[in-house]
Symmetry: C2
Subunit: 204 residues, 2 copies
DNA sequence: GTCTATACTCTGATAGAC
DNA sequence: GTCTATCAGAGTATAGAC
């Protein structure tokens, strides 16, 4: 099944993936400006001109990474079902968000870097899709509170707190592990802790 | 009163401060590698060679910023008094940490950038002073829990959660404001929300 | 103390051989 | 598709006039 707009051989797709993986590694550590094509090419095991054969510019590589990232990042929130059991839905969201942080820490750091720098390449998405989704889900949370099914608390800041607490384990991984020492599994401990925290915050 | 090791005129001290303030602005936005001396010099209103008259290198400017940052950042935790009232001490800590985020967001982002990048220039401090202080204060929290004065919860992750929740408002400021819209004061709302959260989590 | 000029290296991107 | 060679510009840092 070939696309007329962008025919791609298997090797092309494979190399694009290798490059994007290397770029994720480098951009997530150093941000857009701090990252260099030399570094990305080295991690990818390609020459710099060859990298630029697959992507026209540094900017294009970065854009390719950001495209879709926000969607992936928001999917767990989207999955929160207004018709479901409130406590289960919220706990499921926390669980899925923590799993994302554990399984895709580089994506989390890429996102953190982008926001830290003032979201120069994501502003529109954040002021658009992200804001709308938060408003929608905050309304769902508010309804649950007004029905007395969970405790009253600011629903938007509740969402912020889920983001902050889960992403912290990916973004500040170095610090978390330095403090805990080698004999700990940050994410399983975090799972238990966050379970307790949100239960006590929301259960009535 | 002159120091023999580093005599400094008033104008020298003043210029060093101007440079450090400009550097904080730029480093906190772009990280070490993404920041340029040109940018820092421009923000400082000085020529690049003049900047390098006050600091021998880009590295030296960055080091000057990081030195002392961790201390400032940990001071509120240090102030948590084992002899005080547990609930008041913890709430006071959360309050002071949130005030730090509100009043010194650039410092918070500088720190976040450093950790995101793997803490290449702060590893020792984090594995040393920071870790020790957390261990000490976690023991204090544990004692309060065992005395039944606050609810049982993992004390180290409790400290992580205070960091994550307060720093989020500085580090993800752009996102927070984009979601809340213009008619909100993020920090006063956060103050109320975090008061509720930690009360419900810890009160028995 | 501050500036202009400049040395030298790094970085993004292109040309062209294979 | 991949490589070597290379260019133009940006970057850190220094020299030396004032």
């Amino acid at each position: 099944m070939s696309s007329s707009s962008r025919p791609q051989s298997r090797i092309q797709q494979r190399n694009r993936e290798i490059i994007l993986d290397a770029a994720l590694e480098v951009f997530s550590l150093h941000g857009f400006r701090g990252a260099t094509l030399d570094q990305i090419a080295e991690v990818a095991g390609l020459s710099k001109p060859n990298l630029l054969y697959y992507f026209r510019s540094k900017e294009e590589v970065h854009t390719a990474l950001l495209t879709g990232l926000l969607d992936t990042w928001l999917d767990p929130l989207r999955a929160m079902d207004p018709a479901g059991n409130p406590m289960q839905e919220i706990m499921g969201y926390v669980r899925r968000k923590l799993d994302l942080a554990r399984d895709f820490p580089r994506e989390s750091r890429l996102f953190a870097n982008e926001i830290l720098q003032g979201a120069p390449r994501m502003r529109d998405a954040i002021e658009g899709d992200l804001r709308l989704l938060v408003e929608e889900k905050a309304a769902v949370l508010k309804a649950w509170m007004d029905q007395g099914r969970i405790a009253q608390v600011d629903p938007v800041h509740l969402i912020f707190s889920i983001w902050a607490l889960t992403q912290h384990y990916a973004d500040f991984d170095v610090q978390v592990r330095a403090v805990l020492g080698p004999d700990h599994d940050p994410y399983s401990e975090a799972g238990r802790f966050l379970g307790t925290l949100f239960t006590r915050l929301l259960e009535r």
